[in-house]
């Protein structure tokens, strides 16, 4: 590598030619882009006429992917900042349960329940962060503790208060609320009705909704995913703070020496991860109208898997929000698509494992190129 600096201009040209290819290779999104193309090619070939690419089918895998994306954006930025959060799944369950308890049991207005839940959950994220910073313990241990603590409360609280583990009736109390539709609503209903009328998408053939399109709008869940991806991408690549995120995860000590407020960055990223988990939870609760103690199980791993498929390094300091979003898309499309392709659903994990392994091997290879390790 050092030859580049010291060689003559003629030799420089040769190096530059190689670097064009290498430059393309070291983009963290690369794995995600290649994987997305491969996955879609596969399913277009094997599941094209199975309903997977009908309006209903496409909306199904889009919603599942958007769910992964929302938590992957938070997990991605946190992982680039050099930390993990294993409490994401429990946070989803906890946040949903808190909204249900506030809005249904305590009878608060739904907007207030949502806002208080956001404040509470990001505060718990901050506590996660402070404990990691103050104790210097590995974040996966600290957040593993919160995985249990939050899940425990999510089961305990509704049992004590309502004597059951699922609290429903949120749809009724959310009727007419101004904030609830921002999480649980749908947009572009008119466009889909028009498409249904024009015969572009299927319509219900019976029941009270006869004649209405089977997909009646884009859920706010998808809008949230897009907004969070754009926000995360700009924050990471285009701002001063983004540089600090890379620096904090690349080498916290070196970053501190250069005047980067590493602790602040890490705590804020823990809070952002908790925020994303809460967005996930609120969208889910508002869509389904109930909160259950089992919501979000294992979602923390799904988020981390999406991020890793998207090209981020587990060791921190390298990754991309767009890559993580593509990773989430791959994850969602594979999970839902294998069913359409007629593959036994229990084999989903085999595929997931293969993709994960492939992605990690690719990432390691990329890191070697970047750091010049042999």
């Amino acid at each position: 590598m050092s030859e580049a600096a010291q060689s003559t201009p003629v030799a420089d040209e040769r190096i530059k030619e190689i670097s064009a290819l290498r430059k393309a290779l070291i983009r963290p999104e690369l794995g995600g882009i290649v994987g997305t193309i491969a996955v879609f090619t596969f399913f277009l070939l094997f599941a094209f006429d199975s309903g997977m690419f009908s309006a209903q089918g496409a909306m199904n895998w889009s919603v599942v992917s958007a769910q992964f994306m929302i938590i992957a954006v938070g997990a991605c930025l946190l992982m680039i900042a050099g930390e993990f959060d294993l409490s994401v799944g429990s946070m989803i369950g906890f946040a949903g349960m808190m909204i249900a308890i506030f809005a249904v049991t305590l009878g608060w207005p739904v907007w207030m329940a949502i806002i208080v839940t956001f404040v509470l959950c990001t505060a718990i994220g901050a506590v996660n962060g402070f404990i990691v910073i103050r104790t210097g313990l590995p974040s996966f241990i600290v957040t593993l503790a919160f995985l249990f603590i939050l899940r425990g409360f999510t089961i305990f609280l509704p049992q004590v208060i309502e004597r059951k583990t699922i609290i429903g009736g949120i749809k009724d109390v959310a009727e007419g609320d101004w904030l609830a539709p921002i999480f649980g609503g749908k947009i572009l209903g008119g466009l889909f009705q028009w498409m249904g009328d024009a015969g572009l998408i299927a319509t219900f053939t019976r029941g009270s909704r006869q004649g209405q399109p089977v997909v009646d709008g884009i859920p706010m869940l998808i809008i949230w995913a897009i907004v969070l991806i754009i926000f995360g991408h700009i924050l990471l690549t285009k701002t001063k703070f983004g540089n600090w995120i890379f620096a904090a995860g690349g080498d916290a000590e070196a970053a501190r020496n250069s005047g980067v407020p590493v602790n602040k960055v890490k705590v804020l990223m823990f809070m952002f991860t908790a925020f994303c988990a809460t967005v996930f939870a609120v969208c889910q609760v508002m869509e389904f109208g109930s909160a259950g103690a089992d919501r979000g199980l294992l979602k923390e791993f799904e988020a981390i898997i999406a991020v890793v498929i998207g090209g981020a390094l587990l060791t921190g300091g390298y990754g991309s929000v767009l890559g993580a979003a593509l990773g989430a898309l791959i994850f969602g499309v594979v999970q839902q698509g294998l069913f359409f392709a007629g593959v036994e659903s229990s084999l989903f994990r085999v595929f997931l494992g293969i993709i994960l392994l492939g992605a990690v091997i690719l990432n390691t290879y990329i890191r070697r190129i970047i750091t010049g390790e042999r």
């Binding site: 429903g168 009736g169 219900f204 019976r206 029941g207 492939g358």
Partner: protein, 315 residues
């Protein structure tokens, strides 16, 4: 990059023959059974065998789907997905109406026939416009068991709940308590799904409350470790032991007298009958006029031969 593409290519090559092998393509009808059970719940094996046998006998394509972790929100997505793949019918459990009513309603409205099985109730099935409900009303089953236990002189019990987040599990315990005419209170424990944890929690509860009259377990997941716990603390055969559902160990327990009775909801029928009913409905337009109660039936030490033979497979 190369390795990644290669991996995917290999995966796809591997997937094609498996795809062909696992779905028996037949006369065109396709039925999908969606359950709420996590992968770890072995009780659902009977259900899988039930639909597989029905698919074979009726010559239709059947598929079993479940959320791997038992997350009901994931289950809602699976129902939506099942509907999008355009099957002739969906057989689904209805563990939580708040979450699942919407997707089930959409499936029905888009022209897919639905039968509610296992969890749910005849009322909600009618409300949604499903063809029928096949299963055992959980609260009623618990209540009947409670009455029976009360007749046997039971005044207190321990309910070992291995699936606390599922409302119908708690209903079984609640029904049992109401049948006994006592308050459930703290007599229901959240046992978790891990056998050794369940065993230790049962041991802990019984050593803290040694005068407990009875133990109620909700299926093989909690019954098998509870049997071990009772053997360990010497209460086996002494304490009054009733359980929901059957399984290999439970049948042995009933046979040697450790378990008084098992409530058999006959899951085989819950999976088998909907496929038969729907196939005939779609082929000949015939449909039974009522819901089907597959249980409860109390299984005691008398007449265990058939059950023993097929326990865990079809019983």
């Amino acid at each position: 990059m190369i390795s990644f593409v290669k991996t995917l290519a290999m995966a796809s090559v591997a997937a094609v023959p498996m795809a062909a092998a696992t779905t028996a393509v037949a006369e065109g009808e396709k039925y999908i059974l969606v359950s709420h059970a996590p992968d770890s719940d072995s009780w659902w094996n009977t259900i899988k065998n039930g639909i597989a046998l029905a698919g074979e006998q009726m010559n239709v394509e059947v598929e079993y789907r479940n959320p791997p972790t038992g997350d009901l929100a994931d289950m809602a997505r699976i129902i939506e997905q099942a509907a999008a793949s355009g099957p002739n019918g969906i057989i689904t459990t209805l563990a939580d109406p708040d979450i699942l009513s919407g997707p089930i309603q959409s499936a029905i409205d888009s022209g897919v026939d639905v039968i509610i099985m296992n969890t749910g109730s005849p009322d909600i099935a009618r409300e949604l416009g499903a063809l029928m409900y096949v299963g055992q009303p959980e609260y009623d089953a618990g209540y009947a068991a409670g009455l029976r236990a009360k007749g046997d002189g039971i005044g207190s019990f321990l309910c070992v709940n291995h699936y606390i987040v599922q409302p119908s599990s708690s209903e079984r315990c609640q029904g049992f308590a109401d049948g006994l005419g006592i308050d459930l209170g703290t007599q229901m424990i959240d046992a978790g799904q891990d056998p050794s944890e369940i065993k230790n929690r049962v041991l802990a509860y019984l050593s803290a409350n040694p005068d407990t009259d009875a133990v109620l377990t909700l299926g093989p997941v909690s019954a098998d470790p509870t049997l071990l716990a009772l053997e360990e603390n010497g209460m086996a055969g002494d304490i009054y032991f009733g359980t929901f559902d059957l399984g290999g160990e439970i049948v042995k327990g009933i046979k040697d007298g450790t378990i008084e009775w098992g409530i058999d909801q006959q899951p085989f029928l819950q999976a088998y009958l909907p496929v038969v009913v729907m196939t005939n409905y779609h082929r000949y337009g015939v449909l039974p006029g009522n819901n089907i109660n597959s249980g409860p039936g109390f299984v005691t030490a008398d007449g265990l031969t058939k059950i023993e033979e097929f326990a865990g497979e079809y019983r």
